[in-house]
Symmetry: C2
Subunit: 345 residues, 2 copies
């Protein structure tokens, strides 16, 4: 079959690889209907050392179950399924608490012998715990929105839920990528009435407004911080949803958060150390929370409003490419000419 | 009157200063009944640059109201009062939310022209917001426990409440100082049934056991972390109460916290940067919370059990000195021959 592999920074190729087969009785084989390129795929696209073997790519996909192992009970051949960006057994202590990204027997796509989603088919370990079936037939018009439940919508939702967003909180969202915009949508769904989106790409912030942003702050750094403080009577916001992962975004979060407030991070931090002392978090009793979103925990909850069209998170996709053109997805997202790219095998 | 001043590292003297007088109509003058030395007083005791003027010391005291300004309504001459370690107006947006340490018109003792608690009397700004009256007559046997409501008990309580301690959480407390031990007591009051105290001063950890610690881990660093993991089936604890403020304590907290757990800090951080990236907090979805405790918010809630003897947080005091001997309080606490020192003017 065909699959996208990365062989080094800026080097994504679609190559022939063996079809995946069942290995463990808990496996399923899923034929991919739609996959996509993630903002986090750009990190290796910028920095991966050259490799002659390459590494499979992609961790978001929806598809049709083609085959299941003997121990699989909850999904069956022909099911239309959503695969979250981490696979998990659904039964360990962390899964039962809804923290599937810390599953004791789980893992991530495109690692440890498991393929990536940017491919024609994928072997899914722990299929019972991992996959969520969607009632069929599925309207192809819903594919894009369903695919966001694999990662970006659930990740934006995780930011908002972990941050404690409610009707009583003011919110700032840092980052106008797909996760930031869906953090806006999530904050809106959770009842927030002041949602300040910090981003400067007008097409994206326009979509942010459509998703529920009440203010857009295009300024960055101290200027952006001042703007948010002005919009909040000098106090700052109760909850900051940080959907970028770079240090300037962290500093911006510290600058706009209110005393007693919360910074909820879902942008994968590209730093290990950061200010947390008296002058940043401690003195103001600011809480820092977040992490890799256990999107599996949220799919059933978010699915109905996607299916009935109440929300359209799939609007974050603004370019579609064929699997053969996957590299173009990386290039356009890196150039920021595309917000998020849908891949059709 | 007499008051303790610090003139540089290791140099505390009791000197003659003018009696405090009412300045603002919201002031009260309080004659100090008991004050004490705080672990955080040892930070300047180690590092304060030499100063010919010196700085007043002490931020914990109980006393009798001697005089009130015209605008003071809730406390009166003769009242026996507890003064929290931060003064606050009680009416601003943060005070109303119970975050008095961020009061828009508040501040801290021994700064900005306000005296310290290690003195015969103190001018208390914003007396209505700051002071809490205790029903009189007050049994002198309760003085020590009432004084802990000024800081260390409320600070231990803040750690436990901010960390979300409940009957459903396992808890580790890092630090066997007064705050750590009262964090143990607080966790016990909040229903925790597994409370692991990390400390190695046996007299203190014995008091910790009396306050509710179910396990004591004397080992530090990796060895201490391994011990806590063993005690928790390899998972780590749901909540870590960090009552030290030095980097090794932070690292220990990161090492023993469970995926999805919380580190609640009340030890004033002696660092500004710390690990918060994928390898420390983010990857495990760990929450970092805490800060200067708004002890004012907790006094009314914690007072009844102190008054009726249900709890005896005053047991953390193991040395009493006269105001004239305040310097001895610093020396013995620094040498760790005293846990916490009561000062009687």
């Amino acid at each position: 079959m065909r699959a996208a592999y990365m062989y080094g920074a800026g080097d994504v190729r679609v190559v022939d690889v063996p079809e995946p087969t069942l290995i463990d009785p808990t496996d399923a084989i899923v034929r991919v209907v739609r996959a996509c390129v993630c903002g986090s795929d750009l990190h290796p696209w910028h920095g991966m050392p050259e490799s002659s073997e390459g590494t499979p790519m992609g961790h978001e996909f929806i598809g049709i179950v083609e085959q299941v192992g003997d121990a699989v009970a909850t999904v069956a051949e022909g099911d239309f399924v959503i695969a979250p960006f981490a696979w998990s057994d659904g039964t360990c202590v962390y899964c039962r608490e809804g923290l599937q990204t810390s599953c004791q027997h789980g893992g991530f796509w495109a690692a440890g012998g498991i393929g990536g989603g940017q491919a024609e088919a994928v072997r899914v370990p722990q299929a019972d715990g991992t996959l969520v079936s969607v009632p069929t037939p599925v309207d192809p018009a819903l594919y894009a929105s369903l695919l966001t439940l694999s990662d970006v919508y659930g990740t934006g939702w995780h930011a908002a839920v972990s941050g404690g967003v409610s009707a009583d909180t003011t919110v700032a969202v840092i980052g106008d990528g797909a996760v930031g915009l869906l953090a806006v949508l999530s904050a809106k769904q959770l009842g927030a009435t002041t949602i300040i989106l910090m981003g400067r790409h007008e097409a994206r912030t326009d979509l942010g407004r459509e998703f529920g942003a009440t203010e857009v702050v295009a300024e960055r750094g101290d200027e952006g911080i001042q703007k948010v403080l002005e919009l909040t009577g000098g106090e700052g916001v109760h909850v900051v949803l940080e959907a970028v992962g770079h240090m300037p975004a962290y500093e911006q979060a510290v600058g706009v958060v209110r005393p007693g407030g919360t910074i909820s991070r879902v942008g994968v931090p590209q730093y290990e150390e950061a200010p947390v002392g008296f002058g940043s978090l401690f003195g103001k009793n600011v809480t820092l929370t977040g992490g890799p979103a256990p999107v599996r925990a949220y799919i059933e909850q978010l699915l109905p409003a996607v299916l009935d069209g109440t929300v359209e998170p799939g609007k974050v996709f603004d370019l579609e490419v064929s699997l053969e053109d996957t590299a173009k997805g990386y290039t356009t997202m890196d150039e920021r000419t595309a917000l998020k790219v849908l891949v059709t095998p």
